[in-house]
């Protein structure tokens, strides 16, 4: 039904900043503090939208195009992703490739917007962000290749519908391995500990935060919203194999959203338990994710 498709996409667009609030709240609880309100991200987006823009004199139309385009691209990706197994608004055979290419475009435009300011801080963030792209892209495409092989469909919606709750079925080895691999991807793409620490104040330790150092006002609001959407999109894909199908579409939607917030709580626990890794260890994380997916592929191949 068309209405359910629009509903679950709007749920994604609206609830994504709440994930940030949940993560902050879990971190505060684990640190024995009371923490920010759950809706803090919404308050910040509103506050930023009421401000004017402070632009760097070296920046050009690229920075302004970049912010709008990154937010647009990630909103499109949210429209493609199926929450709780119901199809997204945009779905066609072969859209797994379109999804990956959209995320790649978001990364390139973020980095170009950063390089536009002519600052060495943004340049540093740009080089690290592109390293993350090189490390995560093989894992992403190979994960989708295993999913396509497993389910014999090439559309994101059909793949997710076929693998819903697979972690509790007889095909749990592949499902659990893919769940772990997409968890690693979530950490890399959304920039959480151990890849990048969103709470750090030291520019030399930042990856994503430092690229948007010269963004302000509505531009910064668009970038922060886009970052929250990225986390939403990967959490939905991650949790898809763990959340079982319950029959009615609204039950699946509620379970899916609940699963996503479960992932957010897990990310909060991980962020409170470990420190960010040194940057030269990131290829090891990428290789670990790739190893998990390759193992899943071999198991699927052995099963015939």
């Amino acid at each position: 039904m068309k209405m359910t498709e629009w509903l679950q996409s709007i749920v994604g667009l609206v609830l994504a900043p709440l994930m940030v609030g949940v993560i902050q709240r879990v971190k505060a609880w684990m640190g024995g503090r009371k923490g920010q309100p759950l809706l803090q991200c919404y308050y910040e987006l509103w506050k930023l939208a009421q401000k004017g823009g402070v632009y760097s004199r070296a920046s050009t139309w690229i920075l302004r195009l970049g912010t709008v385009a990154v937010a647009g691209v990630l909103m499109m990706a949210t429209l493609m992703v199926p929450v709780g197994g119901t199809r997204g608004v945009i779905s066609f055979p072969g859209d797994v490739a379109a999804f990956v290419l959209l995320l790649g475009l978001a990364r390139v435009l973020t980095v170009l917007g950063g390089l536009d300011t002519g600052s060495s801080f943004e340049g540093m963030g740009a080089s690290r962000e592109m390293l993350l792209g090189v490390l995560s892209e093989p894992v992403i495409l190979l994960t989708f290749a295993v999913l396509v092989r497993w389910t014999a469909h090439a559309s994101l919606a059909e793949v997710c519908e076929a693998t819903r709750g697979a972690a509790w079925s007889s095909e749990w080895p592949v499902a659990v391995l893919l769940f772990a691999a997409v968890w690693v991807l979530l950490l890399m793409e959304a920039g959480r500990v151990p890849v990048d620490d969103p709470a750090t104040h030291l520019e030399l330790t930042m990856i994503h935060e430092v690229i948007v150092l010269d963004h302000s006002g509505p531009e910064l609001a668009l970038m922060q919203y886009a970052h929250a959407l990225k986390m939403w999109v990967w959490s939905v894909i991650c949790v898809n194999m763990v959340v079982p199908g319950l029959g009615a579409w609204w039950k699946d939607l509620v379970c899916g959203v609940g699963g996503v917030f479960g992932v957010a709580m897990g990310v909060g626990v991980i962020e409170s338990s470990m420190a960010r890794w040194r940057l030269n260890k990131l290829p090891h994380l990428g290789a670990g994710g790739l190893a998990l997916v390759l193992l899943a592929f071999l198991i699927d191949m052995w099963r015939g």
């Binding site: 004017g52 004199r57 390139v108 060495s120 792209g133 396509v148």
Partner: protein, 616 residues
């Protein structure tokens, strides 16, 4: 008079474009044959869907390059310019004849003329050691490929019945056409020649001439009838190697054109990966895999020609407007060269496979073909999955190449005085870039048009089967179109909202935040090499970097020197092998002494041997 020559070339290209589009859309080809007195051969030319497919980018990039060359060569002397136009027209004509050739001698003669005219064009501007070295390397590599192609043209059936084993024909064709296409490990000439040639010639070579190699392989596949799986595997291996090696080496370059040349190697790898998927799909009977692979490869032939042509023209515009192509001396020219900056931005994003532009449609099709091919049973799935991993790395590295090319050259602050005084180029150079950029956007947003033209070619490659598989390819391109148009719409909506907020709340311009440092300079920005350094630490073994010097030992050091040479792993290994072989080659040179009477003796001896062999 030069204007007349240029308009003549452009109108002939337009005519050729119309003819090939007519052949593609109507699906009817034609052949013209006649007996030929030379060597007792036939003279046969024809235009079918496959030739017409490759003739379209030839016409577009050729015509645009001619208009561009008018502006680019305006400082050269009259003799150089006229020679340049003569060779350019001859190159275009020879490529047309290569595409239309249907008999052995026509093909070989046209191929040789193509190699020679492009050699003269490569050497057109050059005066120095680099230029001569590049020209020689190109000539030698071209003729080594030609040797393989002579064998190929003897063995291949030319549309008739196969006499020799098609596997041998395929292998020989892969080597011969691979040299022209710039496949690793036969790509050694490509970065040298494409850097040294004038920009419109580089655009022509990189966009169209490389594809003549791809055309040859496709023609072999069409005439082969039955395709074997190991052909697909060899295409996939070559494609993955080219993609990864080309993209990694592109990162380490400081010259814009050399970066683009290595990126061409990378994109030829993508085309080979698509072809490999297609062949494996046909051999295993999986028609969807075959359709996606062939469609992706064919579309990438067009799309790469358009965006790489655009990027080379842009690099030439930078050279013209600033005076240097060295990325470490550029920066911030986007504010002074607005037209060039917008066009190169579109080209760079197309190279990075961005969804509104054309690179994403073809690369997406190849990736989906690989993923669907992973459903094959057992070990047969490893080939297509190799395509998926290869496309992933290639795509990520190509995105980084785009960022380096556009971000370091056009964004930020100027790193040298020349860049601070950049001037926009004239209309003759801007107009072709705008046309090609518009084509990038159009073929990305509305890929249905290009798919319509490719249907007869894909049908020919798939052996005229698989209607439902083509249905899936149609749906995927329509979906990409929906994504592109909705993305543009969503972007416009967000832009309107953002502008309203800025108008209401005001905007302020400030210097870039510098963490309190009082004297920032443009040299503090990241350079091309520092931007790619984290990635090169992971993949650096594909790039051979030789550094010497740079050690400063004393407290008050005197002059010190640091030298850094970058060459890719294959070229470096090849040079080492060649230097070891020099001793052997010196022995053969005893026969080459320049004395005519001894050469006459060689001819007499050869004739005696042939007569004896014939008369036994």
């Amino acid at each position: 008079m030069e204007g007349g020559v240029v308009w003549g070339i452009v109108s002939l290209c337009m005519g050729g474009l119309v003819a090939s589009l007519w052949v593609l859309l109507s699906g009817k080809g034609w052949v013209w044959e006649q007996a030929w007195a030379m060597v007792g051969e036939r003279f046969a030319v024809g235009l079918d869907a496959l030739s017409a497919w490759f003739a379209v980018p030839l016409s577009i990039v050729g015509g645009m390059g001619a208009v561009y060359g008018r502006g680019y060569m305006r400082h050269a002397g009259w003799g150089t310019r006229m020679r340049g136009w003569w060779w350019y027209a001859a190159l275009l004509a020879s490529m047309w004849v290569v595409l239309m050739a249907r008999s052995r001698m026509v093909f070989l003669l046209a191929w040789e003329v193509m190699t020679l005219t492009s050699f003269f064009l490569v050497m057109l501007e050059g005066q120095g050691v680099e230029s001569r070295r590049a020209g020689w390397m190109y000539l030698v590599a071209g003729h080594l490929g030609m040797a393989a192609l002579v064998v190929w043209s003897v063995l291949v059936p030319w549309g008739g019945v196969a006499k020799a084993s098609m596997s041998l024909v395929f292998l020989v064709g892969l080597v011969g056409f691979g040299v022209k296409a710039g496949m690793v490990p036969l790509h050694v000439w490509l970065p040298e020649a494409h850097t040294v040639a004038p920009s419109h010639v580089s655009a022509m070579m990189s966009g169209v001439m490389i594809k003549m190699g791809v055309y040859g392989i496709l023609r072999t596949l069409v005439w082969a009838g039955e395709l074997e799986e190991w052909w697909g595997w060899s295409l996939i291996c070559v494609g993955v190697l080219s993609g990864i090696l080309g993209a990694t080496n592109a990162l380490a370059q400081r010259d814009m054109k050399r970066l683009l040349a290595y990126s061409s190697v990378d994109n030829v790898g993508i085309i080979m990966m698509g072809l490999g998927c297609g062949v494996v799909g046909r051999a295993l009977g999986m028609s969807i895999v075959s359709a996606c692979g062939f469609a992706g490869a064919l579309l990438h032939v067009w799309h790469h020609a358009i965006f790489k042509g655009l990027l080379f023209l842009g690099a030439g515009a930078v050279m013209d407007g600033v005076g240097t192509r060295n990325l470490n001396e550029l920066g911030g020219i986007g504010q002074r060269m607005r037209w060039t900056s917008v066009c190169v931005c579109i080209g760079a994003l197309a190279m990075a496979a961005a969804p509104v532009l054309n690179g994403s449609v073809s690369e997406g099709l190849v990736v989906v073909g690989g993923m669907l091919g992973g459903q094959a049973a057992g070990m047969h799935a490893l080939g297509p999955v190799g395509v998926v991993v290869g496309m992933a790395l290639t795509g990520a590295l190509a995105a980084l190449c785009s960022v380096v090319l556009f971000g370091i050259a056009f964004l930020g602050e100027a790193r040298s005085a020349a860049a601070a005084q950049a001037k926009e180029v004239g209309v003759a150079m801007r107009a072709p870039m705008v046309v090609l950029a518009a084509l990038c956007v159009m073929t990305g947003c509305v890929p249905i048009l290009t798919m319509m033209g490719s249907m007869p070619v894909i049908a020919q490659l798939m052996g005229n089967e698989g209607g439902s598989a083509l249905e899936m390819v149609w749906r995927m391109t329509k979906g990409m179109s929906v994504v592109a148009v909705s993305l543009v719409g969503m972007g416009l909506l967000l832009h309107a909202l953002r502008q309203r907020a800025i108008e209401r709340n005001g905007r302020v311009w400030q210097p870039t935040w510098g963490c309190g440092y009082l004297e920032p300079t443009a040299r503090m920005q990241y350079s091309g090499l520092s931007l790619v350094q984290p990635v090169l630490r992971v993949l650096g073994w594909l790039v051979c970097v030789r550094e010497s010097g740079g050690q400063v030992a004393e407290t008050f050091p005197r002059a010190a020197m640091f030298k850094r040479e970058v060459s890719d792993a294959v070229t470096y290994s090849l040079h080492r092998v060649m230097s070891k072989m020099r001793g052997v080659v010196e022995w053969v040179r005893i026969l080459q002494h320049g004395r005519v009477h001894a050469y006459l003796l060689y001819i007499v001896l050869t004739l005696l041997v042939l007569l004896a062999w014939k008369g036994r």
